[in-house]
Every structure is written in C-alpha cells, then in structure tokens.
Point group: C2
Chain length 283, copies 2
C-alpha cells in the first residue's frame, strides 16, 4: 500500500478490508481483536505479569507493542464463529485486566489525556473545587499543562500553570525557599513538594503536579544523572478543608531529552490518575 | 522495505544505498540534494513564489513537501559530475533563497526551535537581559514554552512561563483587566497585548509571547470561528530602558484542535524570529 496515510487508509478501507472479510467468510474464520494500553512498566515487565497469556501457541493470542512509552496489549481471537471469538476474546481480556489491574489505563483509541479528563470530571473533590488542577513545571517546560489541555473542554478542570525554568522563577512564582534550593538542589523531592504547594496555594486549585528534573543532555552528575526527575502531587487532605497532602517520588528515565520529558509528563499524569482512583502507584 | 523505522534505516544504509551509489557510478550520474524549510505560507503559496524553479522538466528539480505545518523545498541536482551537480544545486538554492527570503528558517535537520535558540543566544538585546523570553499561553496550554525548552541549554534564554487558561487566571497572574476581557473578550488582540505586558512585567523578561485563541472543537462563533487565534509579542523598546513595545496579530488557522494549537505555537515562535531578525512578518 502507498505510504501516504490518507491514501493508505482509503485504499485499505475500500479495497482490502472487504476482501479480507470475504476471505474470512469463505474459510469460516473470524478474527476479533482488542487493544489495551498500559503505562509505567517496560515491555518485558508487562509480559512477565502475563506469562500464560503470552504463550506463542495460545488462542486468543496476546502480543505487546510499544509506542510513545505506552506498552499496549493486542489480543487476537481466531475462531470459526463470531460468538466463540467474542467470548474467548472477552475471557482473555478479563485475565489481562486481572493480572495488570490499573496499569491498564485505556483501550483502542483512548488517549491517556482523555482518561485523566474523565476522571477529573467524575471525581467529587475535583468537581467540588473545579477547575481543580494546576501545574508547576521545570524540565518539562509546559508539557504536562499542554497534555492536560489536549482535551476539548479542559477548562472545567484546568485553570492555570506555571513554568519555572530557573531557581529565581521557582522562588518568585511558587515561593520555593532559597534554603531548600541551596540544601537539596532544584532537582529534589523537597523542591518539587514546595513547587506543588506553591502552585496549589497561588492558584486555589487543590490538585497540583510539580516536576523538576535533568532532561539532559548536560546537567547530570554522579549523584543525579541525566534522566533523574522528581515529581510531586499536592491533593486536598479531606472534603471540607483546603489543607494539602503532598507526595513526591524520584524517577530515573532512560532515553534522550525528548523521551525523558515525555515520560516525565506521562508519569506525572499517571500519579494523578492513581490518586484519583484512590490507589497507590504500582511502580 | 519493512515498516519498522530501525530495520528500514539499517537495511537502507547497509543494502540499498551502496547499490544506488554503484548504479550512479556506472551510469556516471551524480545526484546531490538539499532541503530548505519554510513556515507561514501554504504549499501552493510557496510554489507560486518560485514558479520557474517548480517546472517539471527542470534540473535541478524542486519539489515541495508538507510536514507538521512546515512547507519544505527538496532540491535535487542530477548531473554527470559532482562539481557540476554541486554548482547547479547551489545556484538553485540561491534562487530559492532570494525568492523566499526569511520564510526559509532552516535546512536539512534543523528544527525551528534550534533556530530560535541560536537567534536568542546571538541577539544583543536578548543577551543583555538573559534569560530574555517568557510566555503567557491560553489555548496552547504550554506548548510554546515546551517548544522553547525543547533545546538543551534553553535556560540561557527562557526563565518562566504562565498558562492562564481561564479569565480569572489571566487577571490574577498577568493583570489583564476585567474591562478588557469584558469589552473585547479573552480572544482579542487587546487581551493578548495585556497578557504579553503582564508576563514581561511580572518576569522581568523583555520578550514575551502571548496567545489566546479558540482551538475548538467547541467555543467558536460567527465573529470568532474555531481557529481564531490572537498572538502578541512584547519586546524592549530600545537598548537602555525596559520599556516595552507590543505588536499583536489575529490569525485564522485551519484544522483540528491539535493542528490549530501546533500552528499557533509555531506562528508565535515565528513572530519572535522575525522580530529578532529585525524584519516584518511576511504573512
């Protein structure tokens, strides 16, 4: 097929798909598929959680693909009847969901951004203080806010964000203390905690995501190599008071600058997602 | 060739390129190429500026491709000697550069972000007030700041950015006046002017890019349809004083939400680029 996506899609839909369907009808074989998306674990770590499903001779078959940091499962069920294919597909999907739990954030054409948007729109605390989320970003330079606003209607949950790329900006905009920056450095859990609290306090939004890290290629050290990224999440302590809890984590992401920034933003969104689900981060 | 990029590249470099080179050597034909990148005009508008170069029977040949909103020229020179190919390629490139001027922002593997970074690093006013640039974004949600910080070392020119997604945030963070928002609306040249001045004043950075627009799919009106985007650039009035000039423009971008946000961010960076070049925006 031609490489131009528009031509390829037209040709596939118009010419190839009907022939495949006809072929399937002639041989009596039905193929049903389902794709599930995960984030947080590498491809092999995901596969290790579902060894039985990944067996080569299995039907429905389960394979993994990686795209933009997401590890996706592709389940294909090959049977002679549509009913049996659907039933076996659903059974395998259920087994995958049991084994992987909330590592699975969506299916088919879902985006992580849409899933976060739905969670924020449905969550009682997020609705109570809408727009509930703000951001404070250093190394990601606005990418978390950009992803939060990828979804139409994001103004219902997103109000404002800060990009504080140097120490002075972190102090001026987010009230990060000079002592914290001096003692622990800009890339530290202490600093991102203060960034998150500052962003939440300044904006009035009870949920705040803060990121500071070393995206590289320069700036790394033995103690904090390139890829070291600290992420904090501030959240309301309870239903009635605007008191904040803050959790912070340090990650070491592989890859180049673009990949480190991308993984950082998606990990921040995933921390928010698990918080809204009321569950601990499983990685 | 296989679709997996890594396999495709390996196979092309290892197997196909040597054969093509050998074929070229046997027929005595040399092909030299050059790619130039533009932004701001559509593919046909670019082609109309270089009708002679685009003639089908021309050698060197000139073709256009579009990727991510950038219209690129691909010049191919087919000659029997490397010297002649190089000479004719350079001549055609020069003709294209004369016809298109600073619409051409880079060549080959350049990125617009790198070009902006180089301009900011070289510009006397930007150096004097480094880090010189700040951002105030509404509909792009952080994308301009993200692009400015795509480049390693961006802390030399970028200090901080604001994402003000609703009216309250524009007032609180950037001192946009309630009267302006009420009279002209959030998507207006008046509002983005005040956003740019607010960002520059708050941050101390003399260059500020501000964007407010309707990325859709909802929110459009007859007067301001989806795709309407206002962009302002604040810049230092002269070498000695931190007084600001502000220019603002309204654009109507085609496409979906993602495309509108992408074009908005690239147009903002392009407004900054032409300002740093000391030239008017040619579109």
């Amino acid at each position: 097929m031609p490489g131009v996506p528009k031509e390829m899609k037209t040709m596939f839909t118009r010419d190839i798909l009907p022939k495949l369907r006809q072929q399937g009808a002639e041989t009596g074989q039905i193929i049903l598929s389902k794709t599930l998306h995960t984030f947080g674990l590498g491809e092999s770590a995901v596969a290790e959680k579902i060894p039985d499903l990944m067996r080569r001779d299995r039907n429905p078959s389960v394979g993994t693909t990686v795209s933009n940091g997401y590890v996706s499962l592709r389940i294909n069920a090959y049977y002679n009847s549509r009913e049996e294919a659907a039933e076996q597909l659903a059974k395998t999907e259920q087994q995958a969901r049991v084994a992987l739990g909330d590592l699975i954030w969506g299916e088919e054409n879902d985006t992580l951004q849409q899933v976060i948007a739905r969670l924020l729109s449905d969550h009682p605390l997020a609705r109570q203080w809408a727009p509930a989320v703000c951001t404070a970003e250093s190394c990601t330079g606005g990418l978390v806010a950009k992803m939060l606003t990828d979804v139409p209607g994001s103004s219902t949950y997103f109000r404002q964000g800060y990009i504080t790329y140097n120490n002075e900006a972190k102090q001026d905009l987010l009230n990060v203390s000079a002592a914290t920056l001096k003692t622990y450095g800009a890339v530290s859990e202490q600093t991102v905690r203060e960034m998150a609290i500052g962003a939440a306090t300044q904006s009035g939004a009870p949920f705040a995501l803060a990121i500071s890290g070393i995206a590289g290629p320069g700036g790394g050290s033995a103690e904090k190599p390139v890829g070291t990224v600290c992420i904090a999440l501030a959240s309301p302590r309870n239903d009635n008071a605007p008191q904040l809890d803050v959790s912070a984590r340090t990650f070491l992401f592989p890859g180049d600058r673009e990949m480190i920034r991308d993984r950082s933003a998606k990990t921040a969104l995933t921390m928010l997602r698990f918080h809204l689900l009321g569950k601990p981060l499983p990685f």
